[in-house]
């Protein structure tokens, strides 16, 4: 009994100490009542943004702070915060997400000659609510020991993978990935729903091996357990930087046909922003002078055609892109999810 009482007392003392110290420590944390930077960015893109923002601040004196998160959730947050919200810029990956943000009415249309000049028309919103800033290509990747470039169907490479010669040799991303969904949405837009469904069914019939991320997928091709896969180009650039002998080569899809599937990261000014002018200035800078600082950290292609891509990806050669329809990526996304599940694609 006395033992219990003793440890009980020490436990109580511990509690008292914690209860007094914690609020004091917590004050520092709890005291955060908003931010003191000029611009606040809600970003669902997490590739090394600090560098580009720092360059912008050095150049213009405008300070930038950002919060990373998931696109759908950040959008809900902007809506819930309403007029009280601090966000000035919403930045995200995937044209469908940008289109959706525009549809939800959280972005402000802006008039900017710099942006209409610098960003190709299919990579920005017709209503000027958002603008693409970085471009990624999702294309076929192969193991050069096992596949020759001439094995591919050059007209419609994605649908060509349904050919029985690829049986048991394919690896692709899971259906929960936004990359897969956008690719299928663009195929629905390009070939029509029936053909797109047949394509996905064909992949499944070829016993496609599903991987849960692009890096594992590329490593599987390098290890020789898959011969062909579809991934974003920059993951290959990343692996090649780590290991120059990485045995994967890109094949630019559908160059004699519709072109290679691309997607963008982009940004728009939030409607409730108190610093719309500075927010616009930042987006303009990212699309022009800041292009390299913004895209090179992740080995992406600049959207601005007057800016050169970095050497690592310039090595992959030039390619023609499938014209990007953000509306299709956005509005067909739900249908793409249905097609994938109808086809039994995991």
């Amino acid at each position: 009994m006395s033992r219990i009482r003793r440890s009980h007392r020490s436990a109580l003392a511990g509690l008292v100490v914690t209860a007094t110290v914690l609020p004091l420590a917590g004050c520092g944390v709890l005291g955060i009542g908003g931010s003191n930077a000029d611009l606040q960015i809600y970003s669902a893109r997490h590739y090394d943004l600090e560098g580009a923002f720092k360059d912008f601040q050095d150049e213009t004196g405008v300070s930038v702070e950002f919060i990373s998160g998931n696109d759908a959730e950040l959008l809900q947050r902007i809506k819930a915060e309403g007029a009280d919200g601090e966000a000035d810029v919403y930045m995200t990956v995937d044209a469908g997400n940008l289109w959706n943000a525009g549809e939800q009415g959280v972005l402000k249309p802006i008039t900017s000659p710099a942006l209409t000049e610098g960003v190709p028309s299919d990579l920005r919103d017709g209503g000027n609510q958002w603008f693409g800033l970085a471009m990624r290509a999702r294309t076929t990747m192969f193991n050069p020991d096992k596949v020759k470039p001439t094995d591919f169907d050059a007209t419609n490479t994605y649908a060509g993978l349904t050919d029985s010669k690829w049986k048991g040799r394919l690896c692709m991303r899971d259906s929960t990935s936004a990359y897969t969904q956008s690719l299928v949405a663009s195929l629905i837009d390009l070939d029509g729903r029936d053909k797109a469904l047949a394509t996905v069914k064909g992949w499944v019939a070829n016993g496609v091996d599903i991987k849960s991320n692009d890096v594992e997928l590329l490593k599987a091709i390098d290890a020789g357990t898959c011969d062909v896969g579809i991934t974003n180009h920059y993951y290959l650039a990343r692996e090649l930087k780590k290991n120059a002998n990485f045995k994967v080569t890109p094949f630019w899809a559908s160059q004699s046909g519709g072109g290679t599937h691309v997607n963008i990261s982009g940004a728009g000014v939030v409607k409730t922003s108190d610093n719309a002018a500075q927010a616009q200035q930042l987006i303009e800078w990212l699309a022009t002078k800041g292009q390299s600082a913004f895209v090179d950290g992740n080995h992406e292609y600049p959207v601005n055609e007057s800016v050169e891509p970095e050497p690592v990806i310039a090595m992959f050669g030039e390619f023609t892109r499938m014209p990007l329809s953000a509306e299709a990526y956005g509005s067909q996304n739900a249908d793409a999810v249905k097609v994938l599940s109808e086809a039994g694609y995991k």
Binding site: H8, I32, E65, A72, A80, T225, N333, K338
Partner: protein, 550 residues
């Protein structure tokens, strides 16, 4: 606040009943907001393979539940009843896998047992095929990884219930001629039942709401469905409707828990008794025991940590600029303070709830207390939205009442929103742990105190608090560790400039920068070890140093 006036048993307890109901209602608000969003929506855009998702969820729950029960109870019994090399060390180290987030271990499994990993290459070199190895990076990986990271919940509670009473009861049964298996089945398991049920409920809820780990392994549960629906169709209302389905699963889990408990109560009449000396294992048996505990610890914790350290070193050598010390300190402090605050808040509430239920003994109070555990069964991001919606409504309401500015950004402008959502989400494990330890306090102890004229508050302070100390310690640890690992809530509700270690891991891992994410992942592990270490010390303090008799 003890009153000297003697009171009749049962008076003044209406207030406790009210308190329990009020806590339950406040905690349920975010869940209810989600329900409202679900009901307000039109026809849901449900995924086509919903039936398959439900089946997958059931299978995963069964697998992880069974695995955690076997590992948790088995290992708890092993370190309580037997003495073998390294027993004292194992007894606390077996809690460590709790500090390893499933999303981190999951990725390690993926890269280790994937086709490009060492074991698969070796297998191909030896047998020409590697499909057996690759099973661990496929669908089988999900239950294995989740079992390895979740069994400590069962282990902790089972060990607490074996300590003090298991040994003596076991000895009695054995002396009366029961076989070891029969003694275990008929004497010990019933004894561990409340703990097992509470632990399993926590494990299953964690399994239910996980969406990161299962996606690595391509396992499509209902929670994955919530995210697919939400992100695929940009439709939060449909996601909310699916969340209701996840809630349905939670109700099922809690029902199973009730059945498992079976209303059985085994309480000691004399508070805690010092545990008897463990049986010393000899010969090969002791090495088997050592190997069993060791292999679980190695796969669930030690080897993964080694792998993370190796990656962290490589990443740092490749780019030392990642070691900006300021960020380290800030993120660590943020995580630590949030975890501590969450633990204190949840445990205080859990204690009030269990005590309140004991004071009133009514169905209403017990039902209300049960209600508070539902938050744990809703995917984190959905709770986060619920909190956002609830506070936004409060804000509008205050403004309508003429309060200038209303609450403004009380949720996302400060960490209050995160804390509130932590309480909603983590009250369940705290309540389970405290409640499980309350079952070992006989109602007659409570009643004696009353008949001697103690007030409910005094009973709480002088009887219930000290006697449920072990449960409280476990609850503090569970919540603190959970809070350190939690991601979706922080991501959604954090104010500008507020980053925790888990967010840091997410930002890197989300883009597959795994080597760079190893360092912050190690920080999560290190931080989560702290409360575990405190728990171990607490247990040691309560136990006199055991003389091992041979």
């Amino acid at each position: 606040m003890s009153t000297r006036a003697s009171r009749l048993v049962g008076t003044g307890r209406g207030r406790w009943s009210a308190l329990v109901v009020v806590i339950a209602l406040v905690v349920s608000v975010p869940v209810v907001s989600v329900l409202v969003a679900a009901v307000g929506a039109g026809r849901p855009a449900l995924p086509g393979d919903l039936g398959e998702m439900v089946l997958t969820t059931v299978l995963l729950l069964a697998g992880v539940g069974l695995g955690s029960a076997v590992l948790g109870v088995g290992l708890a019994w092993l370190v309580t009843a037997y003495d073998f090399p390294g027993r004292r060390l194992f007894s606390w180290m077996l809690v460590l896998p709790l500090a390893m987030p499933a999303y981190v271990l999951g990725f390690l499994f993926l890269s280790t047992f994937g086709p490009a990993g060492g074991p698969a290459r070796l297998s191909r070199a030896l047998f020409g095929d590697s499909w057996v190895v690759e099973l661990l990076s496929g669908a089988l990986g999900a239950p294995v990884v989740m079992t390895l990271t979740l069994y400590p919940y069962v282990y902790l509670l089972a060990r607490a219930s074996f300590r003090g009473q298991g040994q003596a009861t076991w000895d009695a049964a054995r002396m009366l001629g029961a076989s070891p298996w029969r003694a275990f089945r008929q004497v010990l398991l019933p004894l561990a039942r409340p703990a097992l049920a509470g632990g399993l409920a926590v494990v299953m809820m964690e399994t239910l709401t996980d969406f990161a780990t299962v996606q690595y392994f391509g396992v499509r549960t209902v929670s994955v469905g919530v995210y697919l629906t939400w992100k695929g169709s940009f439709d939060f209302a449909s996601a909310a409707q699916l969340s209701v389905l996840v809630l349905g699963f939670a109700v099922m889990v809690l029902t199973v828990e009730r059945i498992l408990r079976g209303g059985a109560r085994y309480d000691s009449r004399s508070g805690h008794r010092p545990p008897a000396a463990p049986h010393v294992l000899t010969g090969a048996a002791r090495w088997w025991a050592c190997a069993a505990a060791g292999s679980v610890l190695a796969t669930g914790f030690l080897l993964p940590v080694v792998q993370l350290v190796w990656w962290a070193v490589r990443a740092t050598l490749a780019d030392s600029s990642s070691l900006s010390t300021g960020r380290f300190a800030t993120n660590l402090t943020n995580s630590a303070v949030m975890a501590a605050l969450a633990a204190l808040a949840c445990v205080t509430l859990a204690l009030l709830l269990t005590h309140g239920v004991r004071m009133t003994g009514g169905r209403l109070a017990r039902g209300a207390a049960q209600l508070t555990t539902f938050g744990y069964a809703v995917p984190g991001a959905v709770i986060g939205i619920g909190v956002l919606v609830a506070f936004a409504a409060l804000d509008r309401w205050l403004e309508a009442l003429g309060v200038p500015g209303g609450t403004g950004l009380v949720v996302t402008g400060s960490v209050i929103g995160i804390l509130a959502s932590y309480v909603v989400r983590f009250l369940a494990p705290a309540y389970q742990a405290v409640d499980a330890s309350f079952t070992t306090i006989s109602p007659s102890v409570t009643n004696s105190a009353f008949s001697l004229g103690a007030s409910p508050m005094r009973v709480l302070r002088r009887i219930h608090l000290p006697l449920s100390r072990s449960g409280i310690a476990v609850a503090l640890v569970l919540v603190a560790v959970d809070a350190v690992k939690e991601l979706p809530l922080v991501l959604l509700l954090r104010p500008f400039g507020f980053t925790t270690v888990s967010v840091w891991v997410y930002e890197l891992a989300n883009e597959n920068f795994w080597e760079q994410a190893a360092l912050p992942a190690l920080l999560i592990v290190a931080l989560a070890i702290v409360p575990v270490w405190f728990l171990v010390r607490q247990v040691r303090l309560a136990e006199p140093h055991q003389q091992v008799t041979s």
